[in-house]
């Protein structure tokens, strides 16, 4: 296998285990649209002073649904960072649950409002995000995969990171460790060409991160992250490799960050007007909607229904969560250590 492959849906893989059906494609589209509305709502809630901070997945939706679709949430592990908004929804997080995080409500399922939204651990699938500190999740993912390998489990660990995260020492150490031990882990980079304001050209001296995989002894694949089919295929191949005990894969999905870095940012300070304008063509919702229509999998009116349903769902969730209570002060003293005596008090 060559070290770097370029994949797009125009070059269908022969041996792909399972092609996405038209039905599933529409289903993924539905999740993407829901994610988009919820994401927009969260941004609005920030502007209303209700959500302290948000990072948006707008532009990353196709990549995230397609990646999750190729995995098995009943046993796989997902180490996310703050931008896997759509992935969380694809993994079954309800809009209400998402909003509880943003509004710091008592029943925030990830961290009970101790942490930023999308941080903590999911109550139903093995999805977690311990901290805001970039790239710390990569060695942790290698550890999760190591445990599976020792236990003889065929679970796969998927760890997400950004182009900026690729510069951290932890990213290198994790890939090196995983390469030595041929661990069942997928290093999944959502490359949106920016780390806050720092463009890829100041982040790395190369055009494609996927080329780094060769330095660790496993394959690297670059894929168009607006292309659901291509991302799904690349991930599926990596999952098969991992489950078969053949080791890690690095996937680099090229995406756009349609909005500023977070609600605290203003990207017009550092992105040219053209750079911002060109992103429209790479909006994954637009790309997939056009594909579905071209393939006669979606009519204009079905599309409208999907949008209307998503909007309604988001409205209901907002009203529900807005009325919910905040955590009490006392709960902030819970769960520091187990307090059983081993491990000690506070």
């Amino acid at each position: 296998m060559s070290a770097i492959e370029n994949k797009s849906s125009n070059t269908p893989t022969q041996n792909s285990a399972q092609q996405l059906s038209g039905e599933r494609l529409v289903e993924l589209y539905r999740i993407m649209v829901l994610s988009r509305y919820l994401d927009e709502r969260v941004w609005l809630l920030n502007r209303q002073g209700k959500a302290a901070i948000a990072a948006s997945a707008q532009g990353h939706e196709a990549t995230q649904v397609a990646c999750i679709e190729a995995t098995d949430p009943s046993k796989d592990h997902y180490l996310i960072y703050y931008r896997q908004f759509t992935a969380m929804i694809a993994l079954g997080t309800e809009p209400e649950e998402m909003l509880r995080g943003f509004l710091a409500k008592e029943n925030d399922p990830m961290s009970a409002a101790r942490q930023f939204p999308l941080h903590g651990a999911h109550p139903r699938v093995d999805l977690f995000n311990f901290s805001n500190v970039i790239a710390t999740q990569l060695p942790q993912a290698a550890g999760v995969a190591l445990a599976d390998k020792l236990k003889g489990s065929d679970a796969v660990t998927i760890v997400y990171f950004g182009d900026g995260a690729s510069s951290q020492g932890d990213t290198h150490e994790a890939m090196n460790f995983a390469g030595v031990h041929k661990l069942p882990v997928i290093f999944f980079c959502e490359n949106n060409r920016y780390a806050i304001s720092v463009p890829q050209s100041k982040q790395m001296g190369i055009d494609s991160l996927a080329s780094r995989a060769a330095g660790y002894g496993f394959p690297g694949v670059q894929v168009d992250g607006t292309d659901v089919v291509a991302v799904h295929e690349a991930t599926q191949a990596a999952v098969e490799r991992a489950r078969a005990g053949e080791g890690p894969t690095l996937i680099e999905a090229s995406v756009e960050r349609l909005l500023p870095h977070t609600t605290d940012d203003d990207h017009t300070r550092y992105r040219s007007a053209e750079d911002i304008a060109q992103m429209e063509e790479r909006d994954p919702i637009k790309v997939l909607s056009e594909l579905l229509k071209r393939r006669d999998l979606l009519t204009e009116s079905e599309d409208e229904k999907i949008h209307a349903a998503a909007k309604k769902r988001v409205n209901i969730a907002t009203d529900t969560v807005d009325a919910e209570p905040y955590p009490s002060v006392e709960t902030m003293f819970d769960h520091i250590t187990d307090g059983s005596g081993n491990g000690g008090a506070l």
């Binding site: 302290a52 710091a104 805001n132 951290q168 304001s197 009490s328 709960t331 506070l346």
Partner: protein, 327 residues
């Protein structure tokens, strides 16, 4: 004398020092066209160019390691760590390496570098945008650590740091950036590293504090004065080396010491201040050496209600003053 916020003073000082000395460069994440996430370097790339205002890759260990190398080879780098919570990857380069460049080479090499670290909470930062990280730096021989709380001190101490022949960690409390305003003279001045300042003289009780808590302590002192307790407020300003003489003098004079900090108390700056007083002022004290800090939980919850419960406040400080004064 123009009034500035803390962040304005930081920006103006970096600008002035870069104008003054060509060897001063700035490096960090987003310090270029973004102007830093707190806008501390807003506009500097336009004035000094990409060579002297360097947007680095996202990798703190190399930011600090590169700064060491550049400092050793004749530059005076200012490294910006975006948030204090992200300084941990650089500990090896700062605590392990920078602190010992001069000592380990018997003075042949030096590392004149400044590391600016926005720290502290009360900004809805949750567990990873609120941390106080002073302990390890303040413990380490070979490092100096300053923590200015006012625009005036921010300018004077940052200028001292940049001109220092050795590494200096500058802790800027991010909540003070826009909250705290004050007069800052246009002319050049420095404040010596290692000197505390009495920000409010008093006779009944001494508060020792720094950073955002200075302002809360001053508010509490005002409230206490209405209740007849005359509180002295000592701004530590430098955390390494601590101004032991100033601490001992004030505590011995008032006879009562209250140490206030935002960081969790166990093994911290407040421990050291208490230890200094316990050793040097023992025979002059007429009350237990009292510390006020947040609870011993990971700092600090994102929930605004819990964040407020975590942070010391003027009211909590006042309560501690009254309790200690009544002993």
């Amino acid at each position: 004398m123009p009034e500035q916020t803390v962040i304005e003073a930081v920006r103006a000082t970096m600008q002035a020092e870069m104008q003054r000395d060509d060897s001063v460069i700035l490096l960090g994440e987003d310090v270029g066209s973004r102007g830093g996430v707190f806008l501390a370097s807003d506009g500097l790339i336009d004035e000094f160019g990409e060579d002297r205002v360097i947007d680095t890759p996202l990798a703190e260990s190399s930011i600090c390691g590169v700064a060491i190398g550049a400092a050793v080879n004749g530059l005076r780098p200012i490294a910006e760590i975006q948030f204090a919570d992200f300084v941990w990857p650089a500990i090896n380069q700062l605590v392990g390496e920078a602190s010992k460049v001069r000592y380990g080479t018997n003075g042949v090499k030096t590392a004149p570098m400044t590391v600016r670290v926005p720290y502290g909470g009360g900004v809805r930062g949750g567990l990873y945008h609120s941390q106080s990280i002073e302990v390890l730096f303040a413990h380490t021989p070979g490092l100096s650590v300053v923590a200015p709380a006012t625009p005036y001190d921010a300018k004077g101490l940052l200028a001292s740091a940049i001109r220092s022949e050795d590494p200096v960690i500058v802790l800027e409390h991010k909540r003070t950036y826009r909250l705290v305003k004050g007069d800052v003279p246009d002319e050049d001045y420095t404040i010596p590293i290692g000197k505390a300042e009495i920000k409010r003289p008093g006779t009944d009780l001494s508060i020792f504090t720094y950073g955002l808590m200075l302002h809360y302590a001053l508010q509490a002192a005002e409230m206490a004065s209405a209740q007849g307790v005359d509180v002295e407020v000592v701004d530590l300003r430098t955390l390494r080396p601590l101004d032991e003489d100033a601490i001992a003098e004030s505590a011995s004079r008032t006879g009562k010491a209250l140490i206030v900090q935002e960081d969790t108390p166990a093994v911290s700056i407040s421990s050291e201040v208490a230890a200094i007083i316990g050793e040097r002022c023992f025979f002059d004290l007429d009350g237990p050496i009292t510390r006020l800090g947040p609870p011993e939980i990971p700092p600090m919850p994102f929930s605004p209600i819990q964040e407020a419960a975590f942070m010391p406040s003027p009211e909590k400080i006042l309560a501690a003053i009254i309790k200690l004064a009544e002993l």
